[in-house]
């Protein structure tokens, strides 16, 4: 499993790729914790590249969500696919988490910072709007 992290304004876009299994979570525990090291963190978890998740993976997602909420931040989840979607439904997470079909939609559902127009993720990836 690998984790990439970019910032768009004050929102962290976290792209996860690979299997979110117990071993993978243990190996990346330091990286996962560093995502929420700062209070009030706003994150979007892009799970398009995750084909498999087990209870340890669910634990990691829940940890991020709870940690952010308690410190005044928020986590939105994007691009949940296939088996991961089924597991989320089974764990009742489809109703309890803020889930969006794309990173762009998740981004647009964060309140805009005062005096700024938030750039869309697609525009950001095209490199056209960040100055």
């Amino acid at each position: 499993m690998n984790i990439n992290h970019i910032m768009i304004d004050d929102i962290g876009i976290v792209t996860v790729r690979g299997n979110m299994s117990a071993d993978a979570i243990e190996e990346t525990r330091g990286e996962i914790e560093s995502l929420v090291a700062k209070d009030g963190q706003k994150l979007i978890l892009d799970m398009e590249g995750v084909a498999f998740i087990d209870s340890a993976g669910i634990g990691a997602v829940v940890y991020l969500v709870k940690k952010c909420r308690h410190s005044g931040g928020a986590v939105k989840i994007a691009n949940v696919q296939g088996m991961v979607k089924d597991v989320f439904r089974m764990a009742g997470l489809d109703k309890a988490l803020d889930i969006y079909p794309s990173v762009d939609l998740a981004l647009k559902n964060f309140p805009e910072p005062k005096g700024k127009v938030l750039v869309g993720y697609d525009e950001y990836l095209r490199g056209s709007a960040v100055s």
Partner: protein, 375 residues
């Protein structure tokens, strides 16, 4: 061979670093970092058994490093020693106030260094051992089942918890309500590290309070779980752990079962008359995640000899040598094949199949199986 303890040395002076590595490397596994930032990176990858750090370093000094570790889950208890040229009483007090275990002033004699390091590591080991012994004592007190219970309202129940560690995260509660119905709950507290294990007892306390004070006197499982979920959501000490829970109310009229599910695997219902297996889908979210969560109740009418099977994720996530999960399909196959067995025999056949799938290697998670039968 006994595993050597690991020590992270944080020191910007390469000569002094070499000296420490030379003296300690014969007895311990040494990693090094040139400042606090590099040390945090290294600890993030693998926490050492002890840290020896200089104070004055570029990028991040020793005080800031200790402060960062103190505020981070899992690193706050790593034994920490300063070795520094700053020998004033004020500096020493500042270090001790941050919770360091020892403070040595350069130059240091080799024997002093070795004996102080050994003392700190031994003290940490004793602390860790007594912590786990306490957990083990609590675990022994915990009911792990292993016998068939005839509930007062015409249901037989067998459950078995096989803990993977000294402290089981799986739990079972069974009690009779004032109206004569029985309540059976099976849950799984999940979380990693000492902090999660420590705070899981808080979870237990909340669960038992709600079960025995609220649910015993109430008809509504939904309201009970909403109360419990509210308590768990509002306790910040529980942010590192979460729990799933399945709760069944077995009616005194012997046929009616009300079920509620907070993120747990579904109840598997084997229908004796048709030999068919169904899932009872009562879906609510994991507990402690979202304060406004709703937990719908589902009513099921069971018939004599029907079986209800509940397992923890340690069953379906049991791994074989090739790295495959046991999975839901294998579980369903065993229940379909052995559904007519009595609760104890059916539960034991499942536990046997799972252990055989793992080639009888130790489980990496707690394994719990519960079977309920309408007698």
């Amino acid at each position: 061979m006994m595993k050597r303890e690991s020590i992270l040395i944080v020191e910007d002076d390469p000569h002094f670093m070499k000296l420490l590595e030379y003296n300690l490397g014969k007895y311990y596994q040494i990693t090094n970092a040139a400042n606090g930032i590099q040390a945090l990176e290294s600890i993030g990858k693998k926490a050492p058994d002890m840290i020896i750090s200089d104070i004055m370093m570029p990028e991040m000094d020793g005080y800031t490093l200790k402060e960062a570790l103190k505020n981070k889950m899992g690193t706050d208890a790593i034994p920490f020693m300063f070795i520094t040229a700053k020998g004033t009483n004020n500096e020493r007090q500042k270090g001790l106030a941050l919770g360091i275990d020892d403070y040595l002033v350069k130059p240091i004699e080799r024997e002093t260094l070795l004996s102080r390091v050994r003392q700190i590591l031994d003290r940490a080991k004793i602390y860790k051992q007594s912590f786990f012994e306490d957990l083990q004592t609590n675990y022994v007190r915990q009911n792990c089942g292993g016998k068939t219970l005839a509930l007062t309202n015409g249901f037989d129940l067998y459950f078995q918890i096989l803990p993977a560690d000294v402290a089981s995260g799986d739990y079972v509660e069974i009690f009779t309500c004032r109206d004569g119905d029985s309540v059976v709950a099976l849950g799984d507290i999940a979380g990693k590290g000492l902090k999660a294990k420590y705070f899981s007892s808080t979870y237990w306390a909340y669960l038992k309070t709600v079960f025995h004070i609220y649910l015993r006197n109430s008809n509504s499982l939904t309201n009970g779980l909403i109360q419990l979920n509210g308590l768990l959501c509002n306790d910040p000490s529980l942010e590192d752990i979460f729990t799933t829970l399945i709760c069944l109310k077995l009616g005194k009229d012997r046929n009616r079962i009300t079920s509620i599910n907070a993120g747990h695997l579904p109840v598997l219902w084997w229908r004796a008359d048709e030999g068919q297996l169904e899932h009872i889908e009562a879906r609510g979210p994991l507990l402690g995640l979202h304060e406004g969560a709703v937990f719908p109740e589902i009513e099921t009418l069971v018939r004599p000899n029907d079986r209800l099977v509940i397992v923890s994720d340690g069953v379906i996530e049991a791994l074989n040598k090739e790295g495959f999960f046991y999975g839901m399909e294998r579980l369903q196959d065993v229940i379909s094949k052995n559904g007519s067995f009595n609760p104890e025999a059916l539960a034991k056949s499942l536990l046997y199949e799972v252990s055989e799938f793992r080639s009888w290697t130790p489980a990496n998670d707690d394994v719990t199986v519960m079977v309920i039968s309408r007698s």
